[in-house]
């Protein structure tokens, strides 16, 4: 069951990332970052960044890149 094994911020970030996967990587990562900035509460973005910092297990590479783009603003 996804909810018990994957933390929500990882699952949700992956779900956003896959929707932009058809676009060039950098363009898509920027779109994902914008989405997370517009709709995610700061503590969720912080949790995502922390997850990336600790290895980013299970996170879509595009979500990892999006998290990096968020870092200066976070």
């Amino acid at each position: 069951m996804s909810t018990t094994t994957v933390p929500p911020h990882v699952r949700l970030a992956n779900e956003v990332a896959v929707q932009f996967a058809h676009q060039p990587f950098e363009v898509a990562a920027a779109a994902v970052a914008t989405h997370l900035r517009d709709f995610w509460e700061p503590r969720m973005r912080a949790a995502l960044l922390a997850h990336v910092a600790s290895g980013g297990e299970g996170l879509d590479p595009m979500a990892v890149r999006a998290a990096e783009l968020l870092r200066p603003a976070a």
């Binding site: 996804s2 909810t3 929500p8 949700l12 779900e15 929707q19 517009d38 709709f39 509460e41």
Partner: protein
């Protein structure tokens, strides 16, 4: 207000300019061509006696009471069926006509019980009125029982819980039959027999309750006598005063006259001037208001320290002080972001506005979300991305100009019945219908209506189907390229994307289960049949790709130029009465009122100035995020305004765990609902009969909700919010709800022209309502999109992660039925339960057979998150592999089954796709075994 009686013009209005001048009893009047003489007379202020005519129905010409004399015409034609002609000279009152009319009345009265004084319709009976108007003084054939053969001993049919049918009083005018056909479109009634023997029947030899009747009340409304009469009028007597207000059930937003006798509500009568419903209603708004005075209602505030303690009734002051103190304590301990609120789509705009104001200005965060999160949040996202604003494009009336109607993921005859009646009328006139739905909903085939195409897709594949339709439109050269070039952006990229082979109907047929030829035919029809209108519901939004489907439909409308005029558009059928309004009022955690992002400095500045506090520029938590954060401990207190999240939100186990983890739950509601089981404070709410404010319906129409009675709890809900805010140290005060609307108008550009006084003057307005559009905006994006150019979005199909497996081989989808409403808190407390006493599981005969399930068996329904038991209905409506249930009853707890998958953009839960298994319940197996062991009893034993 005294009892409001709208004028009856006898026949419907005709469209067009008034160009035909006639003279009636010496009065000149000019009316549009096609108008009846009867209507023209009424417009000139002259009443012609009538019985079989009423202006909601086309003229029938059976009673002959409305005869007139016309210069140059032979005989005495019926004025209801005679259209005006230029220069016509008409006389409505002559001795000859008087005699003819008295003759007609004499016949009617001779076959009618003369118990006017004790009749329930005394004072509200057109037969009685006409006897007076025509000057009938004697009945030569005798009357009542002396008159020989008559209908007076016919039995009363009292089977419907809300109205009686007393055939002895029927004058066979056929108004009821025509109302059921023309207004409601159910065609449940017929006139049986001929001549003297003719009588009204609800199907062959069955009672109203056993017939196809859906209890909309249109026939009761149309009946000129006491034959069809509300039971409440029989019991309580004729009402004496009216208050015009708005239904609090679905997003159609019907206007009603609440009719009272003293302070007692006798009946709700649909209001002819209501913009959304124009005099029609459904069983919920018309009859199911009894919950407002149900003994289960919570009447006094209640408190408890722990959710295992019993409730303690307390004063308002104690409840408010406790709430305020605990909220502040929790913030002091766990930070400003540790508390939040959920607003309700059941409450008024004004009530929602003050709750979001409390969160932003007093809590100092943006942790406010609304129950629209779990239904139409993808509409907000999708339409904003494409068109620039989060709302449907049309008024309801627009459907009358549609040539092809595409209904996707909506079941209007159950969910939005009064709008469905409008739609069905247009379909009977010949508009074409395309239905995209896994289930064979009633619209697919019903009396005089048959869908051209029913694309019975696998749940979860909406995006693939919508893309395939767009693919056909683009690759077969059916697109309106001029419209796209002028009005849209991203055209080339989108065309290249959608033309790719993987979006073709052939490529997706395996995924969707819909034959490619059907998709191609439907696409051609939508693109070429004239005005194409899209209507959709939760079957679109409640998916992991809900937002993407909304954008895909916007693409379809833009690609075919079906936007910006009458008869076209993209229209969400909103679930609850005020979903539109609660979203408009800034209940999303990322948006201030009027859909302005919290990071928009200009918008924030307006509120910071007015409210005198700095506002946070970062989005707050959404409902599912609140639950997740409650479980991880960073979110500790929740104020819930009139929503039963413990029952209505998906994956009940997870929600219950989250609620149980909170330090403080405050519930404001009519009843001690499931969520209240987790609450520390229960604040009694007001029913719509007590509220003073506005609701905004699915067509952006702002309707007044006027108090029919004083709040039974002593306080309006917004007053309670103000008092909590004050107790938390922030001065919030309004003298009236009108003042709250004034603040909304002052701060929200799309509402700038709205005030209670303006609404009282014009009835209702559709936003945007401002200097540019003082009377509101029925149709949006006429000369340009709100965002400037319409944006075509590449809507890639990404399958849901929810898949059927060996363990859970079926897909469950959920919905609602006509007589019940959402979690059923209201409707279950009315006689509506006569139609739907329990939630049922519909499944295909094949799926039932392989599991040994018969119709009516109790079955266990399980998914990877939970299990419940309910009764099975074996039905060909379902495709193989898909089953369906409703979530109206807490005992079933259908959301025990649904998962926490959600729309990628908005986290709207994926209610519509859950992999499940169905098996005979162990109780049912036991019953079967017991039956098998019983000795066989043969007839005659």
């Amino acid at each position: 207000m005294t009892l409001l009686k709208e004028p009856d013009f006898g026949t419907p209005a005709r469209e067009g300019a008034a160009t035909v001048e006639v003279t009636i009893d010496g009065v000149a009047v000019t009316v549009p061509p096609g108008t009846s003489v009867m209507r023209a007379a009424k417009e000139a202020g002259l009443d012609i006696p009538k019985l079989c005519a009423t202006d909601s129905l086309e003229a029938f010409g059976s009673c002959r009471l409305c005869v007139v004399e016309i210069d140059g015409a032979r005989g005495t034609p019926a004025s209801c069926t005679t259209p005006v002609a230029p220069g016509m000279v008409v006389r409505t009152q002559t001795e000859k006509l008087g005699k003819l009319r008295r003759g007609v009345m004499e016949l009617y009265i001779s076959d009618h019980p003369l118990d006017c004084l004790t009749c329930s319709a005394n004072g509200d009976c057109e037969l009685q009125d006409m006897a007076g108007v025509t000057g009938l003084r004697e009945v030569r054939y005798g009357s009542g029982v002396e008159a020989g053969a008559n209908h007076m001993d016919l039995l009363k049919d009292t089977s419907n819980p809300y109205f009686d049918f007393d055939a002895s009083k029927c004058i066979a005018c056929s108004r009821c039959v025509r109302a059921c056909d023309e207004v409601q479109g159910t065609l449940a009634l017929t006139i049986e027999g001929r001549g003297f023997d003719s009588k009204v029947a609800a199907g062959a030899g069955v009672s109203f309750m056993e017939s196809d009747c859906v209890s909309c009340g249109a026939c009761v409304q149309a009946c000129p006598t006491a034959t069809l009469q509300e039971k409440s009028v029989v019991a309580l007597g004729m009402p004496t005063r009216s208050v015009v207000t708005t239904c609090a059930y679905c997003g159609v937003g019907c206007s009603f006259k609440a009719e009272l006798r003293g302070d007692e509500l006798v009946r709700m009568v649909p209001y002819k001037d209501g913009g959304a419903n124009e005099g029609h209603s459904c069983v919920k708004g018309r009859f199911a208001f009894g919950y407002a005075s149900h003994p289960d209602r919570v009447m006094a505030p209640m408190l408890r320290e722990s959710i295992t303690d019993p409730w303690r009734e307390v004063s308002w002051d104690e409840a408010i002080q406790f709430t305020a103190r605990r909220l502040r304590e929790i913030q002091a301990e766990h930070g400003p972001g540790s508390i939040g609120a959920i607003t309700s789509s059941r409450t008024t705009n004004e009530e929602v506005y003050v709750v979001q104001k409390m969160v932003r200005a007093v809590f100092g965060n943006n942790n406010v979300d609304t129950c629209a999160r779990v239904c139409h949040s993808p509409t907000g996202y999708g339409l904003k991305q494409t068109f620039g604003t989060s709302a449907g494009t049309q008024d309801f009336k627009s459907v009358a100009k549609a040539d092809v109607i595409l209904v996707i993921g909506a079941n209007p005859t159950d969910g939005h019945p009064v709008f469905a009646s409008r739609m069905k009328r247009r379909l009977r006139q010949g508009a074409k219908l395309i239905v995209i739905d896994p289930r064979r909903i009633d619209l697919v085939r019903s009396p005089h209506i048959e869908a051209e195409h029913h694309l019975q897709l696998a749940p979860g594949t909406n995006v693939a189907i919508v893309n395939a339709i767009a693919h056909v439109i683009v690759t077969e050269g059916l697109a309106d390229r001029e419209f796209m070039r002028e009005r849209c952006e991203g055209v080339e990229e989108w065309e290249t994307f959608i033309a790719r082979p993987e979006n073709s109907p052939e490529a997706v047929a395996d995924i969707t289960g819909v034959p490619a030829a059907d998709v191609r035919a439907a696409a051609r029809l939508y693109a070429t049949a004239g005005n194409g209108a899209i209507y959709y519901g939760l079957g679109v939004t409640e998916h992991s790709q809900g937002s993407t489907t909304v954008m895909g439909m916007a693409n379809l409308a833009m690609a075919t130029g079906n936007i910006g005029r009458d008869g076209v558009g993209v229209n969400p059928l909103r679930g609850q009465n005020n979903v539109q309004g609660s979203c408009d009022m800034g209940s999303f955690p990322h948006e201030l009122p009027g859909y302005r992002h919290v990071s928009d400095d200009g918008a924030r500045d307006v509120y910071e100035q007015l409210w005198g506090v700095p506002l946070l520029d970062e989005p707050g938590l959404r409902i599912p995020n609140m639950f997740d954060s409650a479980i991880d401990g960073s979110f500790r207190a929740l104020f819930v305004q009139g929503e039963d999240i413990a029952q209505s939100d998906p994956n009940t186990t997870h929600v219950h765990a989250a609620l149980a983890a909170l330090d403080l739950v405050v519930v404001q509601d009519l009843f001690e609902n499931e969520t209240a089981k987790f609450a520390h404070v229960l604040l009694p709410g007001t029913s719509f009969l007590e509220k003073d404010g506005t609701f905004t319906n699915a067509e952006r129409r702002i309707n007044r909700v006027r108090p029919v009675m004083a709040p039974k709890t002593g306080k309006q809900e917004w007053e309670i919010i103000c008092e909590i805010s004050q107790a938390m140290g922030y001065p919030m005060h309004y003298d009236s709800s009108a003042q709250i609307m004034d603040e909304i108008a002052m701060t929200t550009p799309t509402f700038a022209g709205v005030s209670f006084a303006h609404l009282d003057r014009v009835g209702s307005v559709q936003w945007p309502c401002n200097d540019a559009a003082p009377e509101g905006t029925p149709i949006m994006h006429e000369n340009g999109f709100v965002r400037g150019k319409g944006r075509l979005v590449e809507t890639v199909y990404v399958p849901t992660q929810e898949r059927s497996t060996r363990k859970f081989p079926l897909i469950l989808t959920t919905g609602r039925i006509l007589s019940q409403y959402n979690v059923g808190a209201q409707t279950r407390r009315t006689a509506n339960s006569a139609w739907h006493p329990e939630d049922l599981l519909e499944l295909h005969p094949h799926d039932a057979e392989v599991r040994g399930i018969n119709d009516g068996d109790m079955v266990a329904l399980s998914s990877r998150v939970g299990q419940t038991t309910l009764r099975a209905v074996v039905s060909e409506r379902m495709p193989v592999g898909v089953c369906y249930t409703t979530f109206h009853h807490p005992v079933t707890g259908a959301n025990v089954i649904t998962t926490d998958n959600s729309d990628w953009a908005t986290n709207c839960p994926e209610y519509k796709v859950t992999a499940v298994q169905v098996a005979l319940s162990s109780a049912q197996v036991a019953v079967r075994e017991e039956l098998a062991q019983r000795p066989v009893v043969t007839a005659g034993d």
